[in-house]
Symmetry: D4
Subunit: 217 residues, 8 copies
């Protein structure tokens, strides 16, 4: 697989046994297995099977990482910011954050900026930029307006992460995705609805490339 991007097991459409077998293969190969969208039953089976391993579970995101004993995650020096518009977007934002972390990045979260909170966003955003963040992920559902607003304010690349929050027409993340694709803030790129894995890996690739440049020179 492409150097620098970890393989992720998508557990939702697999049986528990298939996921376990794949996790074993990844652990044998790279010392780590990242598993996303884990059904409750598969989660239980994984925890039983890998009881001896170091694991971390992101409950909201239904994600799990299993580490071979002694596995050490390298620090890449990259810095990713993850912003969520609402509380309901946190599971997806967390999935993105997890992936960036597993790629060695420092991840700073600014969650639940809220419908009335643009002003609440300004200060932590300025601090983040001052801290030299390399790339931002902005998760939002419903109208999906926040990524466009943020992209209009910052000098770093922004990845729009639409979430399946919202009902009625354009619900389930469709309006959010379309709105991001139609952004008036050129320079925003997007991933699919609820695709925290894709957003996290894209951000990780960008941040790590910048970090590498910082180191090499």
């Amino acid at each position: 697989l492409r150097k620098g991007a970890p393989e992720v097991i998508f557990a939702e459409t697999k049986t528990g046994e298939q996921t376990i077998r794949m996790a074993q293969t990844l652990l044998a190969g790279t010392g780590r297995a990242i598993i996303s969208r884990v059904p409750a039953e598969t989660m239980t089976a994984l925890q039983a099977t890998f009881a001896e391993y170091e694991t971390q579970v992101r409950e909201a995101a239904h994600a799990m990482v299993i580490y071979q004993p002694g596995y050490v995650r390298k620090r890449s020096g990259g810095h990713v910011g993850v912003i969520s518009a609402g509380t309901s977007d946190v599971p997806v934002a967390d999935e993105a954050a997890l992936l960036a972390e597993e790629m060695g990045c420092q991840v700073t979260r600014i969650y639940d900026v809220g419908v009335a909170g643009l002003h609440r966003l300004i200060e932590p955003l300025q601090k983040l930029l001052a801290d030299g963040v390399d790339v931002l992920i902005v998760a939002a559902g419903m109208d999906g307006a926040l990524p466009s607003v943020v992209a209009g304010l910052v000098p770093v690349p922004v990845i729009g992460l639409p979430t399946s929050v919202g009902y009625g027409i354009g619900g389930g993340g469709v309006a959010a995705l379309l709105s991001m694709l139609q952004t008036c803030a050129p320079g925003l790129s997007v991933v699919n609805i609820d695709n925290g894995v894709g957003a996290g890996i894209t951000a990780g690739l960008i941040a790590n490339r910048v970090a590498q440049a910082r180191k090499q020179h």
Copy 2:
């Protein structure tokens, strides 16, 4: 027809003759004919036919109003604000403004707020509110984010007016409309894409009702 809302001739799908005949009927009845989405040929025919009448043409909006000689438009005392996100939204915003004016409202325009212009918007918006505007129309295409942003800032009703600006998926006003319907700023109502007539009449009905209350008490 419902008291307070003018009848409008939708000329796009009519022959020039049909439109002229309908305009004559309206002029005979109410002393005024408002005609929207006038094809170029019909516009020429109308101007020839009603050369003796007072007329006004909104070129960008392809709209025309014809007045019986001596027609006096009553001032209702209502006050409507019309905001456009971009230059491309002006034709639709103008159609809305025209309708509110023909309903007797004072109309204040804030056009081309621009993608980088939220700050440019704050001051004129505050002035508008200080002037006691009764209702706002906010026209936007592409991501349709502006009406939500405005609705989150002001204490008056806001009508979202999506415009058919934008290409690709969600283009032609679809993303703008869906995004407004999915707004995180509860209290925003919308009309269909490019429906300046509908937005103008809705705003006129609201503003005139408030104005009436002002007068009666």
Copy 3:
């Protein structure tokens, strides 16, 4: 948040704990927490947690309001009419009514006008207008024809509230929404499918603005 519009907690995509925490914050701030689309489990948890508070539950609408002891809801003087086409639209109509009430408005309901009931509607509608209603909400699913019919009859602003009633193509409220957006009765504005909160707040903003004008003069 925009002055005059209450903040509403959307409980559907939140854990019970998240909703409770947010309710506590709102109660501390404004003395009241309005919560919509409450899942059954969260409802139970809320009732247990806030057993000491005054509460009201709209069962059909799955909505709840919690009041700080001693909280007094101010009467704004605004008057909102809520009409539902059918019995199945009542939950959504009720959510809208609740919001308008919580904004201080008097709310008059005309429910289940029925497919054969246009004539049954005329009389109560005339009474409502005679009583000086400021704005109407009309909830309808399936063909969504009622809001257009009503908007063609009354001199006050009408807000179309499509409901997710109906199956087959255009079902789940889609035909109702599209039909309202395509209305032949200019002057009808709409909110998204099942968005009683949005309709109620929009109506409340309009009615309260009129009421304020009545008072000030």
Copy 4:
């Protein structure tokens, strides 16, 4: 072909030569050729080719009928009513009327009922029913509400004929069609957008069957 339904040449996607050849075949076989959606060029070619024949042209509908000299259209005794909501729906309504006429039916038209005209409709509708009309076709674009309203009032079968009038989302007849399919007035059946031919033949089949029963007994 099915007994009682005339064959119709759909000229839109054919070359002029193909249409002429097919018309000649039909004339040779049945003494009559009905041609719909005739492009301007093909119309000219047809008129030149069949200059010696009796013809009728429905200009608005872009339809033409050519009769073998001496052709006599039989009166079936069936009676079809064709109602159009607006002026813009007339071309499609006319196409439907033409087909019913060519099937031998008496056709009564009530056109341009208008957005404010439900009351204007009641009287001619009552007269039509008193005259013993067998079936109604109701053509409408935009919100497509009229067929549902009519179907709720009359004891005869109603065929909804959506027209491609209207812009924005649900435009081009989509909202009209969906709204008719979602009708609250059970007993309304529909044909596709702008399919005047289909509506006319369906109505003709129904009316002629009733007429036949009248005669036979």
Copy 5:
């Protein structure tokens, strides 16, 4: 309601109590209550409440009819044929048949013609036509081809009844509906997906009108 079409209670989006109350009103008024799409729980409640009444339940269709003791269904003399393409379409076809029966029609069923059964259809169809059937309902899911094929063969009106059978793109009845609306057999009209009630009432209106003509002359 329109004379000749029975009112039907749509139970799917109502509580058991609402349905029972409505059934009681209908029974008091017309001596009969027809209830469609009855959820299992509501079915049980209805059977308990109306244990003393004569009832009939169409299990596959989830429909129920309750009769006031002594209720006598009048024979109208109309004759409706109901054809189903497959076994999976039977519930919807049965709902249509029920409605036509309750309107007094004789109903003849030809079910499960099958993918290989066009030839199996010819004979019973010819018998049906010989028996003087007035109108046909043809139910089909998936590709929805059967109604077009039948409409091309018979001289009576045909109502296409798409069913929500089929998966993948165009599944859930969408391809079937679109295919019927795009029929090459002009003279086919349609109702919405799974709308057996609508098809049955439309057919009943047509058949009863023909029957009435037979009687009157």
Copy 6:
């Protein structure tokens, strides 16, 4: 490119110069250039440029083939049948036929089977099968029913070729495509709307494979 399938220049979205340059490259390489969807201007330019070459033009299909002087098309021994439902489908059917011919196949056409022509189809179809046809392409627009009907009758593979004929909902070939994908006749595979090239090459691959087996044994 895949052995056995010719490269085709898709001229619609290219400038005349680009197409000419590509044709020259193909001629130099394989002695033949097949060009599809040729705009009128490009067609003229091609004919001027390659005036010295042997060419064939399929006018309806807007397709052209240019042969290096002395080019000899090999006979593969494969046999492909191309059926078109209507006259309007001929251009697309012709494109498919051209491709199969250029792959060396014998092609038999059965065009304009017609809406009333299933019986007219049976005889030529039986002859085709008796002649040992290897595979059938069936082109149809509107309801797209013909490929399913044919596939239910014959023992050879059938390729459904939807054409963009038809207006209203499901028009432009959408209903035809969906209906073919939802076929009740398992064993039908499809290509995209108007994709005569794809259908022709697929059929050519199948027929030539069979022909090869015939030869080798």
Copy 7:
């Protein structure tokens, strides 16, 4: 039914009893019943009813075949390759493989080629072609890219089999299907999402036709 294609009972929308009855009919007629998309309950009922029969169950595919005692499946000599992009596509690929086997074909599987596995594919693919495979089925969800890539490499016909794997916009197999229909590798034909039965029968028809040619010559 068409010679060479077995009838398959689609059990998903049938009751257990209906499926059992149909299986008995098929067993009586052809000695074999193939049943697809069997719900868990129906599976149990089938196993109980046909305990005395030889059966095979494809668990992942929820498919079952029942054989009359002594039934002998004929070897056709056809050879079908079935490739799956991922693990999640296996159930659908298995359904396709089952059908080809029941048509007498030899079936070779290459499963879980994987996102990083194009190179892993080359070798087994070359072996398959060397073994004289007649046709390939390629199952893929999400982006559906694999069938296009394979079709660009091999000289045999390829059938694209989109699977309902993937979430967000274009999920559930829609992007996969559209992508296959838009393939840049002309000569790829497709069946509907998850339609393993259709893909298997199509492949079987092709392979058996080639095999027949091999035998006859």
Copy 8:
């Protein structure tokens, strides 16, 4: 506007006068005006108006840049690769390349990789990576498969740029966009169909950030 991203005038929905006025403002402010999607008439007007200025026109992309005399574009040190799948994608790819160049990046183009050209791609791609390219843009229409394939091969971030090439269902870039959003190669982000401006600016932001890191260290 956000530091580092140039403002671009979208000329398609503007009058020539509006575009000229905006260009003058930008020239006065930044010394440069970038104008995209310039209609032919506006292009002529711009060239006449700014005859004295240095300009560059990208004909295929319908884009123009006007420079204040003496304007010097700074070299950022960033390096962007732009790959196009086909010839038809070149206009959009060129628009992206232009934007990256105007942001100071070195841009390397690899155009028309072609349907049969994956192997032709490998070598130039390896050279590009060896040259230290920071980010890749991959433009593709139709099936949109190329960006996924490239993203699976390279260690740098990839931006998918769908183009509106392709007809039939999923045409106009829809299948390409959906396929990129459903990519099996995590780490690919996308912009809207034909949005070369967005892709170019996103790539420029990434490359310039890396370049800045290279310089600073």
